[in-house]
């Protein structure tokens, strides 16, 4: 399975993501620059966290209009798995690849801490290696993670089982509607999430519960992953 990580000026968790993918898959990911118009052949495309273009205007807004995003959109239409974490999630919503928008945190401040995450739908490869309803502790670090969609869209997201993760046990750090922490697109091949599974893949991170997300996304067998 081949992974490509997209880099924008201002991306800053790209290095964390590269390290996580390399650790888990044993292969270094390919890298694509924001001005690229084509992408290497990939099974998983990741838009990492950070402050692309400083998050100026709106988080992820300028990145979402970069040339490389046309290639990402094309790949997504072909069913390639796409993961956006934090700024990547913001970018995917700005690009229209995921519904809704990520607004300023309700508390208005940047927040970096561990939250409880509940797996809301494990019938997707991204989440298949978690139990339905399983709760893990996972770090978040963002300023604009307050998920918003209009009533109708929100209803559809819920009805379609598009919610991948929810903040659990009263740990919603940003005021997100329905405690939404991560969502799929309708086809199920695009996942956007605010928490950082890439910072949860080594015992030194305080836990390795993030590994299963990448293992699922990369179709790794349980035995391989052990």
């Amino acid at each position: 399975m081949k992974t490509t990580i997209i880099q924008f000026p201002g991306s800053n968790r790209d290095r964390d993501m590269i390290a996580a993918i390399t650790l888990i898959s044993g292969q270094s990911p390919a890298l694509a620059w924001h001005t690229d118009t084509t992408l290497p052949d990939s099974d998983l495309i990741i838009i990492p966290g950070g402050f692309s273009h400083g998050d100026y205007l709106r988080s992820g807004a300028i990145a979402a209009r970069a040339p490389v995003m046309d290639a990402v959109r094309e790949a997504s239409e072909k069913g390639v798995r796409i993961l956006g974490v934090c700024n990547g999630f913001q970018t995917l919503t700005e690009a229209g690849l995921l519904p809704g928008a990520l607004m300023r945190n309700a508390g208005l401040t940047f927040v970096c801490k561990n939250v409880k995450l509940e797996v809301a739908n494990n019938t997707n490869p991204f989440t298949a290696r978690y139990a339905q309803g399983e709760v893990i502790s996972c770090p978040v670090a963002h300023h604009d993670g307050n998920y918003f969609a209009d009533g109708e869209t929100l209803q559809q997201i819920e009805d379609n089982g598009q919610v991948a993760f929810r903040y659990a046990e009263g740990t919603n750090p940003n005021g997100s509607q329905n405690d939404i922490a991560g969502i799929f697109n309708t086809a199920g091949n695009v996942l956007g999430m605010m928490p950082h599974p890439e910072n949860l893949v080594e015992p030194a991170h305080g836990g390795i519960d993030g590994c299963r997300l990448f293992e699922g996304a990369l179709n790794m067998l349980e035995t391989q992953a052990a």
């Binding site: 205007l57 709106r58 807004a61 300028i62 519904p99 928008a101 208005l108 307050n146 209009d150 005021g175």
Partner: protein, 83 residues
């Protein structure tokens, strides 16, 4: 080509939650400003641009809003070009 000064205003759509506006409402209250019923925060962009005519400038600014300046999922925009 003549140069135009324009102002683009981008506001959250009705019904879209505005955490900053809410916080400001609260803050104004605690600063002793009574009678504030609502605050909604938006953005302005003061743009200096060259265009063939005022209409062309306006058209171009509308396109900028659609493509970048506003997130039309949650925001509306208005364009004003000074003569």
């Amino acid at each position: 080509m003549p140069t135009y000064n324009a102002t683009v205003t981008v506001r959250l759509k009705n019904g879209v939650l505005d955490p900053q506006g809410k916080a400001i409402e609260g803050a104004l209250g605690s600063l002793g400003f009574d009678g504030v019923e609502q605050v909604r925060q938006g953005k302005t962009f003061d743009v200096v641009l060259d265009a063939a005519t005022q209409d062309a400038a306006k058209e171009s600014l509308n396109a900028m809003c659609e493509k970048l300046l506003a997130n039309t999922v949650i925001e509306d925009y208005a364009v004003e070009v000074a003569g």
